[in-house]
Symmetry: C2
DNA sequence: GACAGGCTCCCTACTAGTTGGTAGGTTGGG
DNA sequence: CCCAACCTACCAACTAGTAGGGAGCCTGTC
């Protein structure tokens, strides 16, 4: 049906895999051009400027993530299992894909040099994740499934930070298993 | 005395503050030229290529960090206080400086697009930090000052990841106090 | 049913500015 | 005299972005 948007989607997919490797300034329209098989001028037709492209890319990523979390809420009742599923998702990414990383975690490091609207999208993703984690920890604590060490909010921010830091460590060590080696003990400590 | 190396040092300092804002690909020799007041060709005289510059920069950063940790070992006997000092250092950075970030934590995210020798330096920094933290946690546990939840090694990797993730969160939220808000509860949880 | 208009998509061709890097000359101090 | 430090003057490649044209497709109208 909607084959019209295939090209735009291809461009976004390609840009995402490129941006995940090294951030905003590590890829160019020429890189996308080579992979997608389209001229750089044609990319400008779909996304007038690079900041447009990346803003849309992050907005789409954010929506996917948000939808994924909403689905998790529906399919997985237990808070601890929800955390397992979230971290397990990333562990699978590290096991299966080439250069896995959360788009927003990578871009967060570059915020001082990012276009404002892109930075705003990144910030929104962090808030969404932190809000969700806070809710999970609250419910988990209320149900006696999780053991908090501080408030749900501060623990959520800590889980979020550890998750992102584990991605950095996995990259630094060049060892995909490092992500799970860090986040699994994190889970165990939170589990009541 | 050694005024000869002033320029090279100026270049390194400038490059560090630039790289900390957005990573390897976010700055150019032209940027350094404007700040330091030297032509780009003259920068090449001190550092033939960009990868040379950044490799030396990271090596220097790594030495400073390593020396700082060694000094910490000497001046601060208590393991918990050592952790406090380490995290407190970064908290001060976030309170006082413009765009604070660990050079290596930022570069770690960009490893797939980094020159190999730079990536090796980044990796070495992570190892050094993790080794030191492991030692601190081991001694702290032996002295009953710290309470581990796993092995000293896994806990050390978790502390390291959380610290780096907290830097990312602080940037994402645009809130320097976020770093302390995440790392302080981390300390409290580890303290026996 | 033909056909004109417009729209989307993509192209070639081009731009001005920036990138990292080189060649070769000047200067000043040991 | 030599050498380190710095300069001017380059370079080719690449950067994001623009101008303008052509092919195909839908749509409204006679």
């Amino acid at each position: 049906m909607n084959t019209q948007s295939t090209r735009a989607a291809d461009i976004l997919d390609c840009a995402r895999s490129l941006i995940v490797r090294g951030g905003y300034n590590s890829f160019s329209y020429a890189d996308i051009s080579k992979v997608v098989g389209i001229r750089t001028a044609s990319i400008h037709h779909h996304f007038p400027s690079k900041s447009d492209l990346v803003r849309v890319l992050v907005a789409q990523y954010r929506k996917e993530a948000s939808d994924g979390l909403a689905q998790l809420e529906q399919l997985v009742p237990d808070p601890l299992d929800q955390l397992r599923a979230y971290l397990g998702y990333w562990e699978t990414c590290f096991a299966d894909t080439d250069a896995p990383f959360c788009v927003c975690a990578l871009l967060a490091g570059e915020i001082p040099v990012l276009p404002d609207d892109v930075a705003a999208e990144v910030r929104a993703h962090f808030r969404r994740l932190a809000d969700w984690l806070t809710g999970v920890l609250e419910r988990g604590a209320a149900q006696g499934r999780l053991r908090l060490s501080g408030t749900a909010r501060t623990d959520a921010e800590m889980v979020l930070a550890t998750t992102h830091g584990a991605m950095l460590s996995a990259r630094a060590y060049g060892d995909a298993t490092a992500f799970g080696a860090i986040t699994r003990p994190l889970l165990e400590r939170i589990a009541a």
